[in-house]
Symmetry: C2
Subunit: 264 residues, 2 copies
């Protein structure tokens, strides 16, 4: 996968807010994320009425590269939209290219056909719970996390070649190099699969990645205080028994390829 976030764009990020610094406190997270493609240097994290962080404003993150890296490391997002006035929140896997976040599904599924209805602005939320922060008082208990909220009017990707290109981007996010090894997509399969995208131009991101913060008067209170970190990791791969039982399967085929980056 290309790692061509332009250096020009990187230089727009002040050193003190660089991805590597802001993410260095995360356990087992790579310093740079997996930036898949170049992004617009002129898009910054916005602060519209919807994305201005009102609760815990000091947690607000205005480093766009950190937001993109978080989206790339995340496997799951939550698409919130309305159908006939009723809110629905549907979890789905996503991928990113440039300034857009993409998701797919059955072309008639609610989060595909429904989310694009009526030009509504959907809300797509991603969060990683990175740890429980155990304070000396109940009130100061907290969590370490990264979260992003994306607002935008989704649009469908309908061009057949463009859809195929995006199926490949999605597969390659999950397992680099895998696309060319797969049985090719049929026309019918492509038709049955819908792709939606939303532009990443109205986004907020929040991060808490620090230790416990107690009231000064409580610091000697006799209870364990600190952080209980949470990690996601790959467990051992479980190969299809049809392959493990077949002595003719080559060594190469017995080795799965994991995503480029750590996950959250």
């Amino acid at each position: 996968m290309p790692q061509n976030v332009s250096s020009e764009n990187s230089q727009t990020v002040p050193e003190s807010q660089s991805v590597s610094e802001s993410q260095s406190v995360f356990q087992n997270k790579p310093a740079s994320g997996c930036p898949h493609t170049s992004v617009s240097a002129d898009l910054t994290l916005s602060a519209t009425e919807l994305t201005r962080v009102k609760r815990g404003p000091k947690r607000a993150q205005d480093d766009r590269d950190a937001m993109l890296a978080f989206i790339d490391q995340s496997l799951l997002c939550y698409v919130g939209f309305q159908i006939n006035g009723q809110v629905r929140v549907i979890p789905t896997c996503h991928w990113r290219e440039g300034d857009y976040l993409y998701w797919h599904g059955h072309s008639k599924a609610a989060n595909i056909a429904g989310s694009g209805k009526g030009e509504q602005k959907v809300c797509i939320t991603l969060a990683s719970l990175d740890g429980l922060v155990m304070a000396r008082s109940a009130f100061h208990h907290s969590v370490n996390y990264r979260s992003a909220m994306i607002y935008g009017v989704p649009e469908a990707v309908t061009d057949p070649d463009e859809k195929l290109r995006h199926f490949k981007l999605f597969v390659e996010k999950l397992s680099p190099g895998r696309w060319d090894l797969l049985r090719p997509v049929t026309e019918q399969e492509a038709k049955a699969t819908g792709i939606m995208r939303v532009k990443l131009d109205e986004v907020s991101m929040k991060i808490r990645a620090e230790g416990v913060v107690d009231d000064e008067d409580d610091l000697d209170w006799p209870v364990w205080a600190g952080v209980l970190p949470i990690q996601q990791r790959w467990a051992p791969a479980e190969q299809d028994e049809l392959q493990t039982a077949n002595p003719n399967v080559s060594e190469q085929l017995n080795t799965p390829v994991l995503p480029d980056c750590d996950i959250c």
Copy 2:
């Protein structure tokens, strides 16, 4: 914590759909979850217009105990609601007592003050991505997961004693036995914290927990196929330096208490 899901209720669950069987395929998940309190035997997983599973109906789970165990094991839920017609999806930690799911926040936060506005039916979604299912064709790639979608009109918990009781339930979910060790909650802290709840009577749950399912014609296609399982786990606890640097802190205080159950 009481583990008193009544045996009468348990007996309403057919053996073939029991929690222990349906969850036995999950990696490192306990067989029974952590049922915190007794639940109504007459509440079953509903199939209303909102909760009828249309996509992948064979993934639908009608075992209410499995749904409750999943909610109890989960630390994070996504509350979807509207403010002035705009959908918002806010991730937050939750706990459960009986037939209600609870969440808290600053009393003026959007997911507290906003979600209870105008008698709207919110949608609260929980999901755990348990693995990537890597098929021989792009089309049959899938994910193993557990997810629940809860619909209901939230209500605020306002009685001061009841709020205190729920702060305790929440803390005890995260670290059993911790509540009595903490510096007590002040009146001001309690006032600043809002609690909302929603009844678990319009809920759907879906589970995929199986291997790869390929087209018959593709079974010999030469590419690795199988499941890449994902686990969440506790990383080593990080005690507050103020305690680790103090030689007078007792052994007991140097030992954090983790939740009763595995997490997701």
